[in-house]
């Protein structure tokens, strides 16, 4: 059941208190190649010490999908946030403060991945990055491809992206 309006938003009031109905993986044509796709990074949980390079950096685990076959990697769709009149950098740092990285729609799709809308209660601008076939995980090259394509959106000071 898709309760989204034309622009991908849940009509006001309808997303509160509802349990999340998972969306089947798909590729959203309204997300363009140049659109900014944001992935939140937890400074407390996703950052590791790399003794080889003597740096703190984002773990590859931050660029993985959930293991359910129809599950993906959570992202925020910048265009939807902007359309709603909200500052995206404010939005992705609340209610839990997080850093975030950003990809272009094209860079994600070039890894043979889909991007689609998947609004959550409290986050109607939520989307997912999915594999194009039911798979439990991204391949190593998809994970490293995401890490290579990422740029800081809200930087975590002193932390390398990959």
């Amino acid at each position: 059941m898709d309760r989204r309006a034309e622009d991908g938003r849940i009509p006001a009031g309808e997303d509160e208190g509802l349990s999340h109905l998972s969306v089947d993986p798909y590729d959203e044509p309204r997300i363009g190649g140049y659109d900014v796709i944001i992935r939140r990074i937890s400074p407390d949980q996703h950052v590791v010490w790399d003794d080889n390079r003597q740096v703190r950096r984002v773990s590859s685990k931050a660029y993985t999908k959930s293991t359910g076959l129809a599950e993906g990697m959570s992202v925020d769709i910048e265009a939807l946030i902007v359309t709603a009149g909200i500052d995206p950098k404010d939005f992705v740092t609340t209610p839990v403060y997080a850093g975030s990285v950003a990809f272009s729609g094209q860079s994600i799709r070039s890894l043979n991945l889909w991007i689609g809308y998947d609004s959550l209660p409290g986050n109607p601008y939520h989307g997912q990055v999915w594999t194009t076939e039911p798979k439990k995980k991204f391949t190593e090259s998809q994970k490293s491809g995401l890490a290579n394509a990422a740029a800081w959106y809200v930087e975590i000071p002193g932390v390398e992206i990959k």
């Binding site: 999340h20 939140r40 937890s42 949980q45 996703h46 590791v48 010490w49 790399d50 003794d51 080889n52 390079r53 773990s59 590859s60 685990k61 931050a62 993985t64 959930s66 293991t67 359910g68 599950e71 959570s74 992705v92 209610p95 839990v96 997080a98 975030s100 959550l120 986050n123 939520h126 439990k136 995980k137 190593e140």
Partner: protein, 173 residues
């Protein structure tokens, strides 16, 4: 066979019935039994330095609040964490640094080392479902394994993380 020569267990106190005998005496001679009908719950002290150091971290990741990742992430499941701890206990090698634990949004956990010229990442998706990768940071060569019950292949990987066996040292040699 290996008789311990110790005093006999008192059957009428132990009442071993009606319990899943989850604790079995070790082949190294220690008797350690879970007495279920007496409703005792024993949590064993960790036996490797890795788990001693990771005690607090494990507690932290199994207690993460819903939405910890800014989305709908859940805490690492107790089952996954226990399996990861079990695996670490089995893989422990002296002089290899303690690994880092990174939670997944779905209750999984990744065990990782970035040391001595290697990245070793063990992604514990569920009990008996481990995706393992090792990357040589000098050559960029990557090995991948999908493991269920037998982790013998990882013992060489972990041994290679010992400080004395840095590939950089080998190159210079």
């Amino acid at each position: 066979m290996n008789a311990s020569g110790r005093g006999s267990a008192v059957y009428h106190q132990e009442r071993p019935s009606f319990g899943a005998p989850s604790m079995i005496p070790s082949s190294r001679g220690l008797v350690s039994r879970l007495s279920t009908s007496q409703a005792r719950m024993r949590v064993n002290a960790p036996t490797s330095p890795w788990l001693s150091e990771l005690n607090q971290r494990f507690d932290e990741i199994v207690s993460l609040p819903k939405g910890w990742d800014g989305y709908s992430g859940v805490a690492v499941t107790f089952t996954c964490a226990t399996f990861a701890a079990n695996l670490l206990e089995r893989l422990y090698v002296d002089s290899v640094p303690v690994p880092q634990l990174v939670p997944g949004s779905d209750g999984s956990v990744q065990i990782e080392w970035h040391v001595n010229g290697f990245d070793v990442e063990l992604d514990v998706l569920a009990p008996y479902e481990v995706n393992a990768i090792r990357r040589n940071v000098t050559t960029d060569e990557v090995e991948e394994l999908e493991l269920q019950t037998d982790f013998t292949a990882l013992t060489g990987w972990i041994a290679g993380l010992r400080m004395a066996e840095s590939p950089l040292v080998r190159m210079r040699g």
